[in-house]
């Protein structure tokens, strides 16, 4: 196949334009000098300046980062344990169920996850007094449940390809099980762990639906701020914010991909 038909090339271009032209326009208009989103009035960085002076957005960014850090770390720990159990213990009661339930959040509609978690938190508060209202903690817990699935899938793939004889060789050479894990297993699956963490972080950072259900009045995340301000009309400030988020997420996802590719 050395010549592409015109039709194929046209479809490809159309597809990419459809996918990326709106994103490109968001980025371009973030540098617009005009207040109107649809009229180009020259290059300017004023909206980025305004963005950094906007306290509501600054607060939301801090909330989002906190939530994402807690959620990614929690998901990494639990997801890794789940993956380890699934790969290393081939036979135990409920293994199939665990495997299915670990990966279910990948396909679960977010609206259902969000709603069910909201109901859970409300019921918990009535029954035990915790959590007192909703906030960073509840969003983080909700995002952990989402992130576990992604971490587990990535780490499971890595562990499945892991050569067990490396661990046996280390055991044979006199390293106890804990040392084997720390000196052999952990360094070799570290790229998958880092990639899993980055993906969980990214997911948490851009989630709107689940966060809306589980957030409290004082814990608005960035996507929630964007969503609510857009309803009042698109401001170029939001374009600037979206551009920044786009850059952060692109870097994180590219990093995760790179980690998974290098042996």
């Amino acid at each position: 196949m050395n010549r592409l038909s015109l039709f194929l090339v046209a479809s490809l271009i159309f597809g990419f334009v459809f996918l990326y032209a709106p994103i490109a326009s968001v980025v371009v208009y973030s540098f617009n000098a005009s207040r109107l989103v649809t009229v180009w009035a020259g290059f300017s960085l004023q909206w980025y300046g305004a963005l950094f002076e906007n306290e509501a957005i600054g607060r939301a960014a801090r909330v989002s980062l906190q939530v994402a850090l807690i959620a990614a770390t929690g998901a990494l720990g639990l997801g890794t344990l789940a993956a380890y159990g699934l790969v290393r213990y081939r036979r135990f009661a409920g293994r199939t169920l665990l495997a299915a339930m670990t990966t279910a959040p990948l396909v679960m509609p977010e609206i259902i996850s969000g709603l069910s978690l909201l109901l859970l938190f409300v019921a918990l508060e009535q029954a035990t007094g915790w959590p007192q209202g909703r906030g960073i903690a509840t969003i983080a817990i909700a995002h952990i449940t989402l992130g576990i699935a992604f971490v587990a899938v990535i780490v499971e793939a890595r562990l499945s390809a892991f050569d067990r004889s490396l661990e046996e060789a280390a055991l044979d050479l006199g390293a106890g099980p804990v040392r084997v894990f720390l000196t052999i297993t952990l360094p070799l699956i570290a790229p998958a762990l880092a990639a899993g963490w980055l993906l969980a972080f990214t997911l948490s950072l851009d989630d709107l639906v689940i966060a809306s259900f589980t957030a409290g009045p004082a814990s608005t995340t960035l996507p929630m701020v964007i969503f609510s301000s857009v309803r009042l009309g698109v401001s170029p400030q939001i374009n600037a914010l979206a551009t920044l988020i786009l850059i952060v997420i692109t870097v994180l996802v590219a990093g995760a991909n790179r980690l998974l590719r290098v042996r």
Partner: protein, 356 residues
């Protein structure tokens, strides 16, 4: 090392992978466990290393019972078939891994690593990662790593299988040489009978979890205990028959290839036996020459030229195909071409009788 009545089943009702095996290996021996794949030899090795637990039986090393001793406390090291080098460490760190676990001072570890790399001729590549090494180089590093802690017993799982033919033959000599220099007991597992015979001082042939025969390579080759051993260790021609009687100190067997005389202690007439004769012990004669005993007339069917000798398939009058070896050495022996009629013969003490 002593193994007594060792049995291991992976499934409760399945055929045991290792079945009632007893074995004694002396200090500084080079012992080979030889068998086809799936015969349980690797399982036996893993039992000794401590990766598997036996159902019944005892493994003792230097008199110490190994039951319940985890792999990291056994005076045994193993060289894996795939070498299992740590990909995230360089050659020197791989070799020094075991020594670092003993928390030896750094200088001592480094000195020992250098000596080991010297021994396997890998000193120049100490800073390389395993991914940058060839198969033969990896094998040397794996060997050095397994020798580093001076184990009482070194286990080698198919040590040469992953190498190409020429390298394999060189490494045979080198492994033997290293064995002599380090004075450690070697226990090698292999499916390659030539490898086992050329390297080991003693070997055991395994099949279906059992040890079929044990002894020096010469003894087992020359006196196979049964049909499996005879066929697995080298090539063999078998003539099925029944004992007819004794005559002039020789046992006479009525076989499908005719009446054969074999040097053997007397057996009751009518006992079912097989006369086993190695290809290289069959003499090739022109068809007219029929003065010696045990003459088998036949026709040459195919000849496989192998350089120093040729392997021939000869069809006997009974229709049975027999394998013979024709030396290409001096150019004086008669040369037969496919289709030629000839007679094969063997002396009564060249053949063996197999009863099982």
């Amino acid at each position: 090392m002593q193994i007594e009545r060792l049995t291991k089943r992976f499934e409760p009702d399945a055929q045991p992978a290792v079945n009632n095996v007893s074995l004694a290996i002396d200090r500084q021996e080079f012992f080979a466990l030889l068998g086809p794949s799936g015969c349980g030899k690797t399982t036996l090795l893993r039992l000794i290393a401590g990766f598997e637990t036996a159902d019944t039986g005892v493994i003792a090393i230097d008199g110490a019972d190994m039951a319940g001793v985890p792999p990291y406390r056994r005076p045994v090291n193993i060289m894996f078939q795939n070498y299992a080098l740590f990909p995230h460490m360089n050659v020197a760190r791989n070799v020094g891994f075991g020594l670092r676990q003993e928390r030896k001072p750094r200088g001592a570890v480094d000195a020992r690593v250098v000596a080991l790399l010297e021994l396997v001729k890998m000193r120049a590549l100490a800073a390389r990662r395993p991914g940058q090494l060839s198969g033969g180089e990896r094998q040397r590093v794996a060997l050095a790593r397994a020798l580093a802690k001076e184990p009482k017993l070194l286990l080698l799982d198919e040590p040469l299988t992953a190498l190409d033919r020429k390298l394999r033959e060189e490494m045979r000599f080198e492994l033997k040489h290293i064995h002599q220099r380090v004075g450690i007991t070697f226990l090698m597992v292999t499916h390659d009978q030539e490898e086992a015979m050329s390297m080991a001082s003693r070997l055991a042939v395994m099949n279906e979890g059992r040890i079929e025969q044990e002894g020096s390579p010469e003894h087992v080759y020359e006196n196979p205990a049964n049909r499996f051993v005879a066929g697995f260790l080298g090539a063999v021609n078998l003539f099925e028959g029944k004992v007819a009687g004794a005559e002039a100190g020789l046992l006479i067997v009525d076989s499908e290839a005719g009446r054969l005389a074999v040097a053997h202690s007397p057996l009751a007439a009518g006992t079912a036996v097989a006369v086993a004769i190695r290809p290289e012990k069959l003499r090739f004669m022109t068809a007219r020459d029929t003065t010696t005993p045990n003459v088998l007339p036949g026709i040459v069917r195919t000849i496989a030229y192998r350089g120093e000798a040729s392997t021939c398939q000869i069809e006997l009058a009974s229709g049975q195909l027999v394998r013979g070896t024709m030396s290409n050495g001096d150019g004086k022996a008669p040369v037969f071409l496919p289709g030629a009629a000839l007679s094969l013969s063997f002396t009564p003490d060249a053949a063996r009788l197999l009863q099982s």
